[in-house]
């Protein structure tokens, strides 16, 4: 099983951390390596060293990326749980709409940023699959934020939240996000462990 979801799906990159170990065990492919060594035989060890160093750096980067994503994802999970708790408090009348919405609106932007960072990070580190997985959610977050009418007090508007089943849809949204983040969490965890092992 490959931990690198996006990568293999699109192209085989020999620089990837999977390809590297395998190649090493197999001995370098004949035609390519030979040709290369034939031409610049002297520089071979230097090149390999460099490559190895680069690989190692990349692997270390990978670990860092996933550790960061994991932490970020934890934060997002907590945030979703917080959203759910606050919304259900509102549902049960433990708090009033105003304080509920001001509490939640405070966290809309952090959530948006937190998620956007992971998404961008995945793009930069060329994890296409994870990036594409995150993209719709991130887009939705941004869209929701941008589309708030000028007169409203934020994504959660205390005067609207009880109307037209908004509370329910917010709740549903928070639930879906929680599920999504949980999924991501395990994905990052797995990727991180693999990256650590490979290191």
């Amino acid at each position: 099983m490959h931990q690198n979801y996006g990568f293999r799906l699109f192209k085989v990159d020999h620089n990837s951390r999977h390809a590297a170990p395998r190649r090493r065990g197999r001995r370098a492919p004949v035609s390519w390596d030979q040709g290369l060594s034939g031409r610049v035989g002297v520089r071979q060890p230097v090149l390999r060293k460099k490559r190895r160093r680069r690989r190692r750096r990349r692997r270390r980067m990978e670990v860092v990326v996933f550790v960061f994503s994991l932490l970020d994802c934890c934060a997002l999970i907590f945030l979703s749980v917080y959203f759910i708790i606050t919304l259900s408090d509102l549902e049960c009348d433990y708090i009033n709409a105003r304080s509920c919405c001001s509490k939640l609106n405070k966290w809309v932007i952090p959530e948006l940023i937190g998620h956007a960072i992971v998404t961008v990070l995945m793009l930069i580190s060329l994890h296409w699959f994870i990036f594409l997985l995150n993209l719709p959610v991130a887009t939705w977050n941004i869209y929701r934020f941008i589309m708030v009418p000028s007169g409203n007090m934020g994504v959660f508007d205390p005067t609207e939240i009880h109307n037209r089943g908004q509370l329910k849809s917010h709740m549903k949204e928070a639930m879906i996000k929680l599920g999504f983040h949980l999924l991501c969490f395990f994905m990052y965890l797995y990727s991180m462990i693999l990256a650590l092992i490979n290191d």
């Binding site: 009033n96 709409a97 105003r98 007169g151 009880h162 037209r164």
Partner: protein
């Protein structure tokens, strides 16, 4: 069926105690009329099955035909004196309550000069407190007295608060008039009823009639002859009879609803009166149709063939298909109304019907009579906190079952004793269980803080623009005139703030020789210059206040300041009021330009007519936030916008909308150029200042388990799922909610809705006004359609459409309105109608649905293609949200009468005044003729259009002018001439006015008048450049439905 009047005259004397009493009193002619009674009893005998069943069960539909045999049986004459209730006694475990000693009461009633309501007595609040304990029911108190005071009279004993009666009367002459109205209303009704009885040839009926007729006559009422004429042509009768009812039942139903006042509520004020009144006649027809033509309600109408569906008398709400005992106790539809009087069992069924399910409330309506209960414990369900109400069931003497959550509760010890009858062990006869509308004096548990004093703060715009309009003069004058009439007590506080680019406070400290003005020019960080003495006790500083009001208009005449710092002024006012809460009245004449909350003009005049790209949403959240702050501190903001230019009401209106205030808009107000607006402002201000007010209020709407409220409409802030925060509540505000069926209601046959409004009265008492409505549950689509209340549906749709136009767009909202008609009618066509006939087939209950929706599309809020100003459109939308249903319907579909040939035929007779009842006309120019004069009643305005060739007679006898050309350009009063025509017209117009709490201005319009456009705009059945005519609209719908 708004016939609150009935109980007033009949049921009331029996006083609250005898709710059933009222029922039994139906033996007396004044309540339900003998005929019905007979029928009722007959019905009982016919369908016994259901007597024995309890609350839940209601009768199976009985084919219409059975009715006649029943009514024709000769024996019923006797039964009239038998109270129908007695029939039910046996099984009555649950809702049926044994008839108590109500009979004596009725006796007394009979003997008394009942029908004549002594206005003066009832009006006089001073009469309220009756000697405690001296009150014997019905025995010695003349009916009129009881009428008003029965509650209080028992009061001292039971702690019932006498003030109840006094309170409603505060609103002055409105009440008075309504009173009259009520009293007069029902007698006529009975008359009608009787008449119908005669015509329908029921033997016993006629006997009965005689009896009661005499009595009625004795009471000084005139029978209305007009009805007889109508009888033969019953096929066209307007009756709203509910087809699936057993025959006898049906008959009684309309009156009883009307009579629902068993709760002894009289609804004095406008709207309902409006619907109600003319109906004496319609009632008749209704009951008649019930008598012989059950089919009417069941009938399927082909709208393309029968064009003339508009009844000639105002439309009445349908009567829920409930057991008559329950229905009698039910809440008056003017206060509490549901779009579907038969609640569908499941959400699937509701979705199938494609009709919106919702409630329309007018909870704080002025009531002439309202039972008030003071007791140490207010009995409520322990789990859902529902107040005990007439629809709970008593399992035994000690336990009652909540009708909302079905929990079984104990009856507390105090509740066992009935203070009215002074009998122990009759909890089911307590007033709480006998009245669907009741007010409790709340004990201290219902207070978070001591009740606040009434606090009124006035904030005036005094910039150059404002001074130019000259509004300060009329407002200050109105205030001066009404200073003593402001609702309040010795604790009343008042304060004033004016603002232009700075904020001016006025110190009115007692002992100052003249008011002291304090100017705060720092609008970035507003502060209160001196915390005390800005809001002062009205009684102590009255002279200073009067001084200030006299000088205020002159103080700023030379101002050159054109900027307006509304935002900071509101912040300052909020800071000033936040310790107490209260009412803030803001006058604004232009777009705020300075400080926080400054707005920019957004209207593009060229795009006024297109439905796209108009700014219906607020441009800033400042006003909303401030409104929520205000709401938290129990401050309500009422906005008076008097502006010639665009003022962004969409943004400004938020300040009132979320703080439960109200918005008034006077476009192009100017003291010289626009006298009409000046007059309007004065009249509305008069009403505004003197009407009843409730402070620091909250309202909760509960409904039976399985139903849930998902959307709220109106001016308030929804603080938690079902709790509406209303810093102020006023009697002119209506609310609406939308509901869904969450769980299937299959195991229940009745559902109930309860709204409880907790408020502090201007006298500093904490009170709870509770309304409970009970409706049947049905399982078939056909029944759902039969029970549809077309006015309520249209009202709710209008509210939903306003929301839609704000969140989506105006054209979306318009489409949604049209689709609502198409969807429901095609649902009806595909699921209910068995044979697919050509044409546009609609159930009888929805026969006016397309018309009302078309009227909505042409209403100012939703119309396209005209040059409606953005502010006017938004104001119309605010009105849709905030008005009670009756006025909303009047503004969308005004009533049109021909008044140049008024006659006494069919007239009402109220207090020796004859009030002609011209038939309603359709809103089409084809109904107008050049040789007539037509009165259009659009709720807040009356327009009298005089045709060019109008009879000389009318011109001289009514308008007091020699010829047409001499009619003044702006004429807003009819001269009181000493001619019968003038008397009739004036009587009719003043009767229309008396029915509403405010004062609609009458405009006399001739051909060249500028108002003529307004008049013609209301002709909703006609085609305009951008809108379909009624017939075209029907064709369009038919096309869509038959697809």
């Amino acid at each position: 069926m708004s016939q609150p009047g009935i109980p007033a005259s009949g049921g009331v004397p029996t006083s609250l105690q005898a709710q059933n009493g009222a029922a039994s009193a139906s033996g007396s002619p004044y309540t339900n009329g003998p005929v019905q009674n007979a029928l009722m009893s007959s019905q009982v005998s016919v369908s016994q099955g259901y007597n024995s069943q309890l609350s839940g069960s209601y009768p199976h539909p009985i084919p219409a035909k059975t009715l006649n045999p029943v009514s024709e049986q000769p024996n019923y004459g006797d039964s009239q004196t038998v109270s129908p209730l007695s029939n039910y006694q046996g099984p009555g475990r649950t809702i049926n309550r044994p008839p108590v000693a109500s009979n004596p009461v009725t006796g007394s009633l009979h003997s008394g000069p009942v029908p004549r309501m002594p206005l003066p007595t009832s009006q006089n609040p001073a009469a309220t407190p009756m000697p405690s304990g001296s009150f014997l029911r019905g025995a010695n108190i003349p009916p009129p007295l009881n009428w008003q005071y029965n509650y209080p009279s028992t009061g001292s004993q039971t702690n019932h608060c006498p003030r109840a009666s006094s309170q409603p009367t505060r609103s002055g002459n409105t009440n008075l008039t309504s009173h009259q109205y009520v009293s007069s209303g029902d007698p006529s009704l009975q008359n009608n009823f009787i008449k119908s009885g005669i015509t329908s040839n029921t033997n016993n009926g006629s006997m009965v009639v005689h009896n009661s007729y005499d009595e009625i006559e004795g009471g000084g009422f005139l029978a209305t002859p007009q009805l007889t004429n109508k009888n033969p042509t019953m096929s066209r009768s307007v009756g709203y009879s509910y087809p699936s009812l057993p025959p006898g039942y049906q008959n009684t139903a309309p009156p009883s609803t009307a009579g629902m006042p068993p709760s002894s509520l009289n609804y004095p004020s406008g709207p309902q009166a409006f619907t109600q009144a003319p109906f004496g006649a319609s009632h008749l027809t209704a009951s008649m149709s019930g008598l012989s033509l059950h089919q009417e309600g069941l009938r399927v109408v082909n709208l393309l063939q029968e064009r003339n569906m508009l009844p000639s008398t105002p439309l009445q709400p349908p009567v829920p298909n409930l057991h008559e005992d329950i229905q009698k106790l039910n809440c008056n539809p003017e206060l509490f109304r549901c779009t579907l009087t038969s609640i569908p069992q499941t959400q699937a069924l509701l979705n199938k019907a494609k009709l919106p399910l919702g409630l329309l409330l007018h909870p704080f309506k002025d009531l002439v009579q309202l039972p008030v209960v003071t007791s140490s414990t207010i009995v409520r369900c322990r789990s859902c906190r529902t107040y005990i109400n007439p629809f709970v069931s008593f399992l035994d003497q000690r336990r009652w079952k909540c009708n909302l959550c079905y929990r079984v509760n104990d009856v507390p010890e105090e509740f066992m004793y009935n203070p009215l009858t002074r009998v122990y062990g009759e909890p089911h006869r307590r007033p709480e269980v006998q009245n669907a509308t009741i007010e409790f004096m709340a004990p201290s548990e219902y207070m978070l803080r001591p009740p606040q004093p009434p606090v009124y703060l006035f904030v005036f715009d005094v910039s150059h623009n404002a001074v130019e309009t000259g509004y300060l003069n009329s407002v200050c004058q109105s205030l001066l005139d009404n200073l003593d009439l402001l609702p309040g007590n010795t604790r009343t506080k008042i304060g004033f703030i004016t603002f232009d680019s700075t904020i001016h406070f006025y110190s009115l400290q007692e002992g100052l020789s003249q008011p002291q003005m304090l100017i705060v020019s720092d609008i970035e960080d507003v502060f209160i210059p001196m915390p005390e003495n800005l809001l002062v006790n009205l009684n102590e500083s009255k002279e200073l206040v009067q001084d200030l009001l006299k000088t205020l208009p002159q103080m700023f005449t030379k101002t050159l300041e054109t900027q307006s710092a509304l935002g900071p002024a509101l912040q300052a006012a909020f800071k000033l009021m936040s310790p107490t809460g209260g009412r803030m009245t803001v006058f604004q004449t232009q777009l705020p330009t300075l400080g926080v909350g400054a707005l920019k003009p957004r209207e593009e005049p060229n795009q006024r007519s297109s439905a796209k790209e108009i700014h219906l949403t607020p441009s800033t959240d400042f006003y909303k936030k401030l409104a929520l702050d205000c709401s938290g501190q129990q401050v309500a903001v009422d906005l008076f916008l008097l502006s010639g230019q665009y003022s962004d009401l969409a943004s400004l209106g938020c300040i009132s909308r979320y703080s439960a205030g109200s918005v008034y808009y006077y476009p192009s107000y100017h003291h010289q150029h626009n006298p009409v607006q000046v007059q309007k402002l004065q009249k509305e201000l008069q009403r505004y200042l003197t009407r009843k007010i409730g402070f620091e209020a909250v309202m909760r709407i509960r409904c039976t388990k399985g139903l849930s409220i998902h959307t709220f409409h109106g001016n308030f802030f929804v603080r938690s799922t079902d709790l509406l925060s209303l810093p102020n509540v006023n009697p002119d505000a209506g609310y609406a909610v939308q509901m869904s069926v969450e769980e299937s209601l299959t195991d229940t046959q009745l559902v109930s809705f309860q709204s409880a409004l907790l408020y502090t009265s201007s006298k500093g008492e904490r009170r709870i006004r509770v309304h409970t409505l009970c409706l049947p549950v049905v399982s078939t689509l056909n029944e759902v359609f039969l029970g549809a209340d077309v006015q309520a549906i249209s009202g709710l749709l209008a509210n939903m459409a306003v929301d839609r136009s704000v969140t989506a767009s105006l054209s979306d909202a318009r489409d949604a309105l049209v689709n609502a008609v198409i969807d429901s009618l095609s649902a009806y066509r595909s699921s209910v109608l068995s044979n697919q006939q050509p044409g546009l087939m609609v159930p009888f209950s929805l026969r006016l649905f397309p018309l009302f929706v078309l009227a909505l599309l042409k209403q100012k809020s939703f119309q396209t293609g005209t040059n409606a100003r953005l502010d006017e459109r938004i104001f119309a939308m605010c009105q849709v949200k905030n008005q009670p249903l009756v006025y909303l319907m009047l503004t969308t579909h005004p009533s049109l009468y021909r008044v140049d040939n008024l006659s006494d035929e069919g007239a009402l007779n109220i207090n020796d005044r004859t009030i002609p009842q011209p038939p309603l006309l359709q809103l089409s120019v084809e109904k107008l003729s050049r040789d007539g004069a037509f009165l259009m009643d659009a709720g807040s305005v009356l327009m009298l259009w005089v045709g060019k060739n109008c009879g000389q007679n009318f011109l001289s006898q009514v308008l007091g002018v020699q010829n047409y050309a001499l009619i003044p350009q702006t004429m807003t009063d009819l001269p009181e001439l000493d001619t019968p025509e003038s008397a009739r017209t004036i009587a009719f117009i003043s009767w229309l006015r008396d029915q509403r709490p405010f004062f609609p201005i009458l405009y006399v319009i001739r051909d060249e008048s500028p108002m003529k456009a307004n008049f013609l705009q209301n002709m909703v059945e006609d085609r305009t450049e951008s809108a379909l005519s009624y017939y075209e609209f029907l064709l369009h719908i038919q096309q869509q439905v038959n697809k």
